[in-house]
Symmetry: C2
Subunit: 650 residues, 2 copies
């Protein structure tokens, strides 16, 4: 094996179809993701630290260390995890940029965290001290193991980016993990955490430390879940996936973050233990989840009440929950399956989710965030206070912080480690999964390396130029993913000859010389997409996509129209592109006013045409809500009354 055993990447499986390349192998040099990564490093990390201090969530560790009054502890039961996710984000960012000032901030927080650890390794600011609930006394809601999981992931990030650091984080994590293994081992507490996370973290910690006991414990947690060990709750045991064993489940269900984290952990366990049955179960869950329970944005989870998946086809755009963290969890899961199987459909979903969920959350300045990512906003709604944590997950604008602030730190760690999700290698060569400007390099065991430079304006332009930057007389394979949405009209040019390619993976095997090029051209005409007929909530609607981006109609772009809900799109005329803007033709209608909105006479229920607009501009969904409160739709009702244009007409 070569090229990844010591990569600076969050996920390093011992086996699998593809091997990850990490932060030392992939550099993002600009463009859509480069900008976001820079803003994350330059602004978001500081923003997060400010709020973690302001809200006292780091100080909780000092309080614990100093034996202070537990009544002074602040934040929710899972607030420790935000500090750990912040540490993870910093660790990746330091690995990426060698930022010395960040390094010292990182070490300072690690010291404060470490000081709060109990002699036996237990580490949590909410439980276990006099005046607090006993350790492990509330597995359903206490999040203690969840918090340890995030601590381990931070330590893994640090160990892989600064293997020789003497900051002590790895020790802290080892003692916490050992405490978990002692407490929840075969002879310990026979249960699981209400929020999955420890599973995937323990496997990665085993990979990072080479200690098999952590893997064993992760496997035990995965097997234990699904047998009703946790108490029944209002949302049902499916809320924490304790309704059905992972091996038997056929679809993700319940809380969408929990479900994805658990499935990611199950893949990790399955891969390490070569447990084909377990892996296959998760594969099937993923397939059914993607084909029946996922929004067009890639978002998952439709319900506010329990932040949960709905049933099959239950995907209302109204108040779609589509939590940012569920999107990140979905990327985590799909990435693990991609490494295991190599199937480009996993990378398709990652692309869609990164562009339309993960990148939607942070504002352009990286200092406010969407927690939920609805597909329809009917009212301007409430504007979050910029000077206090939002009580609410949903709002019309991004908020700087939340009472439950899982999303900002999750976005930060994802963006800081984003280059780890771009490309993979195997013994034959390199595979490019996500397109951005940058370089990708595979170091071979014999000192050689395979290196390519990617130049593109993607996702705004469909041309992706891949130039080989290394010489090798031995032939190797360079593989490009052709996205599912690009099934018609994509071409690859090698040696100056463009060839049509279908969705999937295009591989060119040859003795690549420096300067050789492959150019992938993806069809970038904007297009309508039609929902499956079983998604009741968007019957009679279309969405608009261009490349990997989903578009939205935002009321600030139709100033003469009271609400985006008054527009009907002409589905007979394809959306068109003009000066970089996606435009659709719409009719403005007015609903009829009646005392009672259900009429025996269909005509009385029909809307009345008011006006027509030839070119209504849409915005990329990720860019909405950046110009003040707005109403917004992703799914546009079609105007069946408009005449059908002649076939082929633009």
């Amino acid at each position: 094996m070569s090229g990844n055993a010591h990569s600076a990447a969050p996920v390093l499986p011992a086996q699998g179809r593809l091997r990850p390349l990490g932060l030392r192998d992939v550099e993002i040099t600009g463009g859509f993701w480069g900008e976001r990564q820079s803003i994350n490093g330059a602004a978001t990390l500081q923003h997060i630290e400010h709020w973690l201090e302001r809200e006292g969530w780091i100080r909780n560790f000092d309080l614990t260390a100093n034996g202070g009054d537990p009544g002074e502890r602040r934040g929710r039961e899972f607030s420790d995890s935000e500090v750990y996710k912040f540490l993870e984000a910093m660790a990746w960012e330091i690995g990426r940029t060698d930022d010395a000032e960040l390094e010292s901030r990182f070490r300072a927080i690690v010291r404060r965290v470490g000081a709060a650890q109990q002699p036996d390794g237990y580490l949590n600011t909410r439980f276990g001290r006099p005046g607090q609930a006993p350790r492990w006394s509330d597995l359903e809601w206490g999040h203690e193991l969840y918090c340890v999981g995030h601590l381990l992931q931070a330590a893994v990030a640090r160990a892989r980016t600064r293997p020789d650091a003497d900051d002590g984080l790895l020790d802290i994590a080892c003692r916490a993990a050992d405490n978990v293994c002692r407490t929840f081992g075969p002879d310990g507490i026979d249960s699981v955490c209400g929020h999955a996370e420890i599973e995937t973290a323990l496997v990665e910690f085993a990979r990072a430390t080479g200690q098999e006991r952590y893997l064993t414990q992760a496997a035990l947690f995965v097997d234990r879940r699904g047998h009703g060990r946790l108490a029944d709750v209002e949302f049902g045991r499916e809320y924490f996936q304790d309704d059905q064993p992972v091996r038997q489940a056929t679809v993700l269900r319940g809380h969408a973050v929990r479900a994805n984290y658990l499935a990611a952990g199950a893949v990790d366990v399955a891969v390490e233990l070569k447990d084909a049955g377990l892996l296959d179960a998760v594969r099937g869950q993923w397939r059914n989840t993607v084909s029946r329970r996922t929004y067009v944005t890639g978002g998952q989870g439709s319900r506010h009440q329990d932040e949960a998946f709905g049933g099959d086809w239950m995907l209302p755009p109204d108040r779609a929950y589509s939590e940012t963290c569920a999107g990140i969890g979905s990327v985590m899961l799909a990435w693990r399956l991609l490494l295991a199987d190599g199937d480009p459909r996993y990378a398709d979903l990652i692309e869609r989710t990164l562009f339309n969920v993960v990148s939607t959350s942070p504002a352009a300045d990286g200092q406010s965030f969407f927690y939920t990512n609805t597909l329809h906003r009917r009212e301007l709604g409430t504007t979050p206070d910029t000077d206090r944590p939002s009580l609410r997950a949903a709002a019309s604008l991004r908020a700087p912080w939340f009472e439950v602030s899982c999303c900002p730190t999750n976005v930060a760690r994802t963006l800081a480690s984003l280059s780890a999700y771009v490309a993979t290698c195997d013994d034959d060569g390199l595979q490019l999964h996500q397109y951005l400007s940058g370089t990708v390099e595979q170091h071979l065991a014999d000192g050689r390396s395979r290196r390519v430079r990617i130049t593109t304006q993607y996702p705004y332009d469909g041309q992706i130029r891949v130039r080989v930057d290394s010489d090798d007389e031995h032939p190797w394979s360079l593989s490009l993913r052709v996205p599912g949405w690009a099934d018609q009209g994509a071409t690859v040019t090698v040696d100056g000859v463009p060839r049509p390619v279908a969705a999937g993976v295009f591989t060119e095997h040859r003795a690549w010389r420096r300067g050789d090029e492959m150019v992938l051209r993806l069809p970038m005409a904007p297009r309508f997409v039609h929902p499956d007929s079983r998604i009741d909530a968007v019957r009679g609607c279309v969405a608009v996509e261009r490349g990997p981006l989903v578009y939205a109609l935002e009321s600030v772009d139709v100033p003469g129209v009271a609400s985006v809900d008054d527009l009907r799109v002409d589905a007979g005329r394809p959306p068109r592109l003009l000066d970089g803007q996606v435009l659709v033709r719409c009719r403005q209608v007015r609903g009829q006013e009646h005392d009672w909105p259900y009429r025996a006479d269909a005509v009385e229920s029909a809307p009345v045409p008011v006006d027509e607009f030839d070119d209504v501009p849409l915005v990329p969904y990720h860019a909405w809500a950046n110009r003040g409160p707005s109403t917004m739709r992703v799914w546009l009702p079609t105007d069946t009354a408009l005449p059908e244009p002649a076939p082929g007409q633009p």
Copy 2:
């Protein structure tokens, strides 16, 4: 004024366009509502008492009376209110039936309640004792004033049905109400209860006792709300209507039960104080709520998270919350507005809500209940345990009891007092608002009375025969409501001559003699109804109604079809009636399987025809889920592919 000053009715305004007739004036003698009222008396009341005892919610009063350990108190913070609603239901039932055994059970519970009252009148088992949170320390969630409100309503029911009873309930209520006035008066705590209810209760208590101070306090509570006196919460202050003053609001919003209870109280205050502005504000809220935020069943509240109204047109049938108690609250509000204004549209909504929400909740045996009343069930779902309180508001079958068990007692008090919502009088005569077999009598001050007997199989048959059962040489008016849904095809026959009548009120003024008859005939052909174009979630669907009943497609009736979601209704052929069954023509379709459910090619998203069914039976919505777990739809997608039948074809 005559005919209602001492009626045994829940609402007795000092003025208004119409005056209520109570339990002594209206008798229901059988049929749809007669059966339900009998079962309520014969089975539901006992069932409720069993669970109240079993769950310890009555024993909480003993615990308080005996100074027992507060840690032994059981149930949620509002469980006292269930005991009070049960007392109210018993009071009406005793008034209706003179049941001596029920009378002694009633008195026994009143004694236990009274023993828990503090010397200063404060009465609540959850707050105020050593080891409990202090009185009034949690106005947002504590429900203390809400509980007092239900105590007052029980006392009002008792005072009006047994004015001379020596059971002590009225005294208990007086002392509790006085405690509220002292504590929350102009110089007291300047706030309101997180759950409106005390407002309407205090007005009625003022009416029943003649003590104006209760009305003054109610008016103060109404005026105080809407100014942000309650803390902001995750759901926003609109959850408890503290976002906007009642006078300024234009629509009901937030928690649907709270919103309706508050609006009912505001009407009560407005009517008593002749506050035209306040009354007009609520009128407007009602109009906008009914025309934009109400399900076709009359149900209100679409959200699970906060049991709240959605925005305008946000009426997804999936997981429609449509709480039974919100339906009852809506009946309370519409009834008060009907008394104030006389507008038959209020009675239209009452009819719709009684037949399609209130009667949907209890099972045929009166011993299990729907808490929520969804309009679409995609999966069989969980079957409630029959031997423990349900943790969940939503389930596929009715549950015997709930952790939050507001609905069973609310249904019980409504059914026991149902005859008070049937008819009204004014100086000119009688108005019939709801149709059922029974008698209605108006006692005049001079000893005369006007009396009619109604004979009908309604809602299964559209003929309503109203026979005058009194003689009076003075002419008086007999008014019949012609429901909004019956605007086309209704006739009234007087003197043997049928005359077409439009929706609204038909009044015949004459010197009625015993044996005179009016026959109202309502068009009972089943019909499709079409939703307003702005209700996105049911675009392309129709519902089926017959008379006042909404119908549903239930999977037990299509045994060959996996899910009701696989059927498309032929909207070109009107539903037909055969042997009392409503039948529609459907095509069975199969969705196409794809990895990703959003396709650029519309054909790939379209369903594939599988089979056709000429006559698929529907069930009245209120009768669904009585034959085991089932999937169910009220809104049926139309099959646009089916050929249009020739006009006029059946």
